[in-house]
């Protein structure tokens, strides 16, 4: 499993706009590079990222080969209620990495 860093204010006020920052370790191989024998290194990138807040999708991104390795994605949402944030990264091979974080709204 890839390593992931997720950061957001742990105890926001109700209605507060919070910034959520995510960082995942991934080489984001573009598919355009050649290895030292001249063969194409197959493309392997994270192509989709989603974040759901208590089951409702609050953010989605599509990623392309020009993205850097270890992509950093930051976005904001409104802290409406306490519950669960689920982050999912989906790569070219269909593998899904999911992380769950609890959020407590005061």
């Amino acid at each position: 499993m890839a390593r992931v860093l997720i950061n957001f204010p742990p105890r926001p006020k109700r209605g507060e706009i919070i910034e959520i920052k995510t960082l995942i370790q991934h080489q984001m191989e573009t598919g355009y590079r050649l290895d030292n024998k001249g063969a194409v290194i197959p493309r392997d990138i994270i192509s989709r990222f989603t974040c759901t807040y208590n089951g409702e999708e609050v953010f989605r991104a599509e990623l392309f080969p020009a993205m850097s390795a270890n992509p950093f994605i930051a976005f904001s949402t409104v802290a409406t209620e306490s519950g669960e944030l689920v982050f999912s990264w989906i790569d070219d091979n269909g593998q899904i990495q999911s992380e769950i974080r609890q959020i407590t709204v005061e």
Partner: protein
């Protein structure tokens, strides 16, 4: 006579320029980086180097191979035992009678105390462990001391730093002592202080050791790079750390 005098003055000026950087004029790579890169380094949730630190933290507690001992079993809490350690490496090893850098120290510990295979240079695990250890020294001033035992290695490092090499026939000091702050193509030439290793280099899209960086520079002047772990490479690391003495550590740093 006047031409001779002018030539003499020009020569004097050139010698003055080749002098070492004054203490108050020293700048770390951080100071040369763009505001965006500095922000990336300062924010722990945006600094990609923290991914390796995180992995290093779990490796620290994991029992390695034969001896079934983890780093933690001997060293305890890294926040206490490893604070300032990276700031005084490479350090002299009395058994081997030569200085070892942090990577070599980790591997020496593995073979001596853990009965484990050494980790390959630039492998994810070695980068993770060194990043985790170096992270504990954030803000600690670099303190490589010129003890009599280290003196010959320090002198070798200094000599290598000032030695011209490669097809471009350039020494380290010609860029990093004499021309820092100017541009080499689009990039600013930094002073070459190793405050933040292992660094996350955007060009690499990954974390890398100081030795990798040195090899990079050597290839750039079209010289044959030192092998990983070569005594000359460690001597050069040692000289660079002494040259940066007193500057605060900022590992894992982000650099362009």
């Amino acid at each position: 006579m006047r031409t001779l005098l002018a030539a003499g003055l020009a020569l004097a000026a050139a010698t003055a320029a080749a002098a070492e950087i004054a203490l108050d004029a020293r700048r770390s790579g951080y100071d040369f980086a763009s505001p965006e890169i500095r922000a990336m380094q300062d924010d722990e949730s945006a600094n990609p180097g923290m991914l390796w630190v995180l992995q290093g933290e779990s490796l620290w507690a994991r029992k390695a191979d034969a001896a079934a001992k983890s780093c933690q079993d001997c060293h305890g809490d890294a926040a206490v035992s490893m604070k300032g350690v990276a700031a005084r490496y490479p350090a002299f090893d009395p058994v081997l009678a030569r200085p070892l850098d942090l990577e070599q120290r980790v591997n020496r510990c593995r073979s001596e105390h853990q009965g484990a295979e050494p980790l390959a240079w630039e492998s994810e695990d070695l980068l993770a462990l060194t990043a985790f250890v170096a992270r504990q020294s954030r803000g600690v001033p670099i303190t490589v001391t010129a003890s009599p035992t280290l003196r010959p290695f320090l002198d070798l490092g200094k000599e290598l730093f000032h030695q011209r090499e490669g097809q471009l026939n350039l020494s380290c000091s010609q860029c990093h002592d004499d021309n820092w702050g100017k541009r080499l193509a689009g990039s600013v030439i930094p002073q070459g202080h190793p405050t933040g290793y292992p660094i996350y280099r955007l060009e690499w899209q990954s974390l890398g050791s100081l030795q990798r960086r040195l090899r990079n520079c050597m290839t750039a002047v079209r010289a044959e790079p030192f092998d990983y772990g070569a005594p000359q490479a460690v001597a050069l690391e040692l000289y660079l750390m002494e040259r940066a003495g007193g500057m605060p550590m900022d590992a894992p740093a982000v650099r362009p």
